[in-house]
Amino acid sequence: MSLSDGDSDLFSSLFVFRGRASPLGEFAVSVAAAMLVIALWELAARAGIIAPQFLPSPSRVVVALWTMLTEQNLVWHVAVSTARVWIAFLLAAIMAIPIGIMMSSYRIVGAALEPMIDFIRYLPVPALVPLSIIWFGVGEETKIFLLWLGTFFQLVLLVADDMRRVPQEFVEVARTVGANSRQVMTDVALHWMGPTLLDNLRITLGWCWTYLIIAEIVAADSGIGYVIWTARRFVKTPEVMAGVVVIGLIGLVTDQLLRLLHRRLFRYL
């Protein structure tokens, strides 16, 4: 069977250095690559190359996922984790955006905050679990705090960088038509930053999800992290894998939705 002209057009640009975009072709390749990895994984598992307690086959993961959905209230755990991640992420964003903008706009704010933020940014979140328990106890606050901690300090520096990259020419054009500092900020800087800001929010939302397991092993009785951690204690590797796959799928869907929002909001790009 040979490819028709249309099919060859669909794929030919994918082999060219910095070739033209081909959304349909790229989607087809993404699906095919994922299917190939799953098929190889299934074959390796079935052939006994890797012991099932280390890497169960995809089909066993799917069965485990179905059982978790129908018998173990997985949807509830997903909802709880999603709520925790989004609350922490929104808190981080609401704080990081104005602080990051101020850090780049007023040198005094940058000088006061940037060294501290750099210091905290390098601290591993797990190292702060004991402190967060002392401060907030073992309730929801600690979980939200740990997720916030992993997101805020990264995001604030990214926002500060976005603000720093607003072209001076735009700022000066605005000033020469009569804009004051606040108007430069709202009418020029925020518009210029918009696309990169949304990209950075998308990336840091992903980072927020990566801290979920750490947040949900602290005296938790709900959430995907709790499910994964509990399954690990009983070496239920298919359930562990199913939990990981669920997080990956949520990430994939969220990322695609945010990309779609990016395209809708910034049509001028």
């Binding site: 072209p167 020419e169 735009f170 000066e172 054009v173 605005a174 000033r175 020469t176 038509v177 009569g178 804009a179 108007q183 009418d187 020029v188 518009h191 210029w192 918009g194 910034f266 049509r267 001028y268 790009l269």
Partner: protein, 256 residues
Amino acid sequence: MTGYVQFVDTAKSFGPVNVVRKTSLGLERNSLVVFLGPSGCGKTTLMRMVGGLDEPSSGSILLGGEKVVRPDRRRGMVFQSYSSFPWLTVEKNIAFGMRYRKDLDAMQKAERIGHYLDLFGLADFAGSYPNRISGGMRQRVAIARTLAAGSDVLLMDEPFGALDALTRERLQVELRQIQIREEKTVIFVTHDVEEAVFLADRIILFSRRPASVVADIDVAAELGADRPLEIRETQKFFELRNKVLHLIRNETGVVV
């Protein structure tokens, strides 16, 4: 010293680096003055001080007898890059110039937008974003926005530097026509001698940094105010261009 724009013993240093030597100069109203000099000589700094974007280290700058202390819409900037806002359509880019004007009502603003869209041949592209129009059109949008703002003085920092030769020529012709028709004072920074001679009523030639005036050439007296494109092929134009080139070589010791 007289003039609409006056540099009064104006000097500028950035820390230990002396960028502009003490300069006194008067620029006539409704004239197109080109600041010419080698790259990095300080001519842009002088122009930015007129815009109120940089402050003189000593001396002052007067506009209509009034000291320049901060940027305002009477002095509009046009840059080579980032000239139009990418998130605004052509029409909204021009409207941005009047965004903070309280002395115009919505109808007057709309009339001005229409006027400048027509004047710059942008009416068919009013709803287009800057990434959908050519580099030359983007510069037209920037000039239109500055004029719509009501600027008396246009400060243009190598605005045609990134354009192809033909577009550049066309915009030079348009700029001269519009400057005369709209009765604006233009300070135009360039290091392109041919562009300087074609555009200028007057060329101020600067030395290497720290900038000081090495020649003040009355181009209008030699070429007149009317500058059709063909003037570039005349003997008078060649002679003047060569004279400026020689001055640059002799006075600044560099080839631009």
